[in-house]
């Protein structure tokens, strides 16, 4: 095989990657004038850690059999994953301007048939973890050492099917499955903790037989450590990393908005957001 496989990056380099993922996402949101930019800015650090520290893949061969699988349940986070896939070199940067346009490979909600690197069709919530269960079973059956990562949202924990998958993964001892929960406490109607998600998240997952870690999902050092621990944990059980994140992370005037699930921004505010972001470029 001649293709290059990615290498793991230091935390300093990850900060640059996370910054670039946020920038790609801001540019895409500017194309549409609105969108799920809050989720993209909040999840940029966990995506940078996934794509530039934890996962093994080949940018020029997104369907390489040896790759770690990344399943995005939450279709509306597509803007965040596109940004990560662009930064990883799986999608070309010049497609940013097509985001959400007719005929684009980057539709507003993520779909497997449209985009290299978008492994599953998300959007109907509560599907991704169940599909990940089957894929993890299949990888074990093939003796393929790859991991399956599933990024799900806190709101998705309200779907009963998520908990069917949680029980199933533990029952089948799927130690090659790593769930990442983006816990930003925001869903369409308001706060997730005022809807269905209550109490200690990690205690709930542990009670179902998972190895659980709960961290600040915008702290790269904590992310790197948690991903390393999850990958190297020895017990034959599935793993979850609950990432407490801040919506719109890095752009203070957006972080302060009350409604961040679907952000509408005036045209001049995109320029303002990009200026703030560009001023904060890491060394």
């Amino acid at each position: 095989m001649t293709q290059a496989t990615n290498t793991r990056l230091s935390n300093t380099s990850l900060a640059r990657r996370a910054w670039a993922i946020r920038r790609h996402a801001l540019l895409m949101a500017q194309v549409q004038g609105q969108g799920y930019i809050g989720q993209a800015l909040g999840a940029a650090d966990l995506l940078a850690t996934s794509y530039f520290h934890a996962m093994t893949y080949r940018a020029d061969d997104p369907e390489w059999e040896g790759r770690d699988r990344f399943y995005l349940s939450i279709g509306h986070y597509a803007i965040a994953l596109y940004a990560a896939l662009i930064e990883a070199g799986i999608l070309p940067e010049d497609e940013i301007e097509t985001y959400g346009m007719d005929e684009s490979r980057m539709p507003m909600s993520g779909m497997a048939a449209y985009t290299p690197g978008m492994e599953i069709t998300g959007g109907s919530l509560g599907h991704g973890l169940g599909i990940a269960v089957g894929a993890a079973m299949g990888l074990k059956r093939k003796a393929n050492p790859a991991f399956v990562y599933n990024l799900l949202s806190d709101g998705e924990l309200g779907e009963g099917s998520t908990w069917e998958a949680v029980m199933s993964a533990a029952q089948h001892g799927l130690d090659n499955l790593i769930a990442i929960v983006d816990f930003n406490d925001q869903q369409a109607d308001g706060k997730t903790t005022q809807a269905l998600a209550r109490g200690s998240q990690s205690a709930q997952w542990q009670a179902f037989g998972w190895f659980a870690q709960e961290i600040d999902g915008n702290d790269l050092d904590a992310l790197v450590s948690a991903f390393d621990v999850a990958r190297n944990h020895r017990a034959p059980c599935p793993r979850v990393i609950i990432c407490n994140t801040t919506m719109c992370k890095g752009i203070p005037f957006l972080e302060e908005r009350e409604i961040t699930h679907f952000v509408r921004v005036e045209a001049d505010e995109w320029t303002k957001a990009l200026a703030i972001h560009d001023a904060n470029k890491p060394e």
Binding site: M111, I120, T121, G130, I131, A135, M137, G138, E164, M167
Partner: protein, 349 residues
């Protein structure tokens, strides 16, 4: 202004029809063999045995069930290939999602449950995780239509209507043990997703007496006739064949076109047969008259410009009663005698 009062909940039973005195002659049963005429040959677990055989030389075949392996004959496969069977527990949503995940990794999963649970509870998971991505998951579901007396919770009287509406899904309703064996082999080779109605246990062998081979997407003429054209699927083809024999004794000549593929419907064969004029066309299905084979055939005839006198035999668009199957089949007009009587009435109209 005061708010309108909340109505009391004390008159619930008055919504339903009056119950009759119990008939203790017939007990509730779900035996498929009891659906056929007495004394006919049966074959044990045609789906489970065929799948176990196929898996001998197909490493990609895996089986999953949501706590119904014994009731879908998948336990036969599980006993033969224990390491390839996944017990998913009473969880139909992850049953379908996990089957999708296994298919993504190159396997050909056979997922089994009851038809009601697949069609009603797991629809979104079949639709978005399997069909939208054209994954080769084979969903094989027992208790199709009215094959249990347990009432609406178990009677899948609308599964074909639900599944027919799903893009990309092949929908099958086999007749007997022979059909089930051949269809199982065919769907294992088919590249896309399939929903197949399952007959389990001791399943009658009816088509063994005919020159018949199952093909996905093909309707087959089992016998020709000049007065009536039956177009039937599933266990109703057993019934239309027997009704044709009964009607022949009264001088009525019936053709039987068996259409085990509900989708994609074999429109060419149906139009060709229906266009042979002078025959009463009767669609017969073990399913609600809404949205199944009958309406699919009617639309096919209209769109194909074929004019025929058309009648439907099927289950009413209602929640059906509980009880013994022979009682219920007579009550809803899908026995051999009821079919023959309906046809005679229609021929006189």
């Amino acid at each position: 202004m005061s708010e309108p009062p909340i109505p009391p909940n004390s008159r619930r039973l008055s919504k339903f029809k009056a119950r009759k005195a119990p008939n203790q002659k017939q007990a509730t049963s779900a035996m498929i063999a009891s659906l056929d005429s007495e004394g006919r040959d049966t074959i044990a677990a045609p789906f489970g045995n065929t799948l176990a055989e196929l898996a001998e030389h197909r490493a990609d075949i895996v089986g999953l069930s949501a706590d119904l392996s014994k009731y879908t004959d998948l336990h036969v496969f599980a006993q033969a290939h224990p390491d390839r069977f996944y017990q998913m527990g009473m969880a139909e949503q992850v049953l379908m999602s996990a089957a999708a995940g296994l298919a993504r990794e190159g396997f050909t999963p056979f997922a089994t449950t009851y038809a009601v649970f697949a069609a009603r509870r797991a629809y979104d998971f079949i639709c978005m995780a399997i069909a939208e991505e054209a994954l080769p998951v084979k969903i094989c579901c027992a208790l199709p239509g009215l094959t249990t007396g347990y009432g609406p919770s178990h009677q899948a009287t609308e599964d074909l209507a639900i599944m027919r509406a799903m893009p990309g899904l092949t929908v099958l309703d086999p007749c007997d043990a022979i059909d089930t064996q051949q269809a199982t082999r065919a769907i294992a080779d088919h590249p896309g997703p399939v929903y197949m109605r399952l007959l389990r246990g001791q399943v009658p062998n009816v088509l063994g007496d005919y020159d018949y081979a199952f093909e996905i997407g093909k309707a087959k003429l089992l016998q020709d006739g000049t007065d009536v054209l039956f177009i039937s699927s599933g266990i109703m083809t057993m019934r239309t064949l027997d009704a044709a024999k009964a009607l022949a004794r009264d001088g009525v000549s019936c053709a039987v076109l068996h259409s085990p593929t509900i989708k994609p419907l074999d429109k060419a064969t149906i139009l060709k047969q229906a266009a042979k004029g002078g025959r009463l066309v009767v669609a017969a299905e073990n399913h609600s008259v809404t949205g199944g084979l009958g309406e699919a055939v009617a639309a096919c005839l209209m769109q194909g410009g074929v004019t025929a006198t058309f009648r439907q035999i099927g289950l009413p668009d209602e929640f059906l009663d509980a009880g013994a199957l022979p009682t219920l089949h007579a009550q809803y007009g899908i026995t051999v005698d009821a079919i023959a009587a309906s046809v005679k009435t229609w021929l006189k109209e």
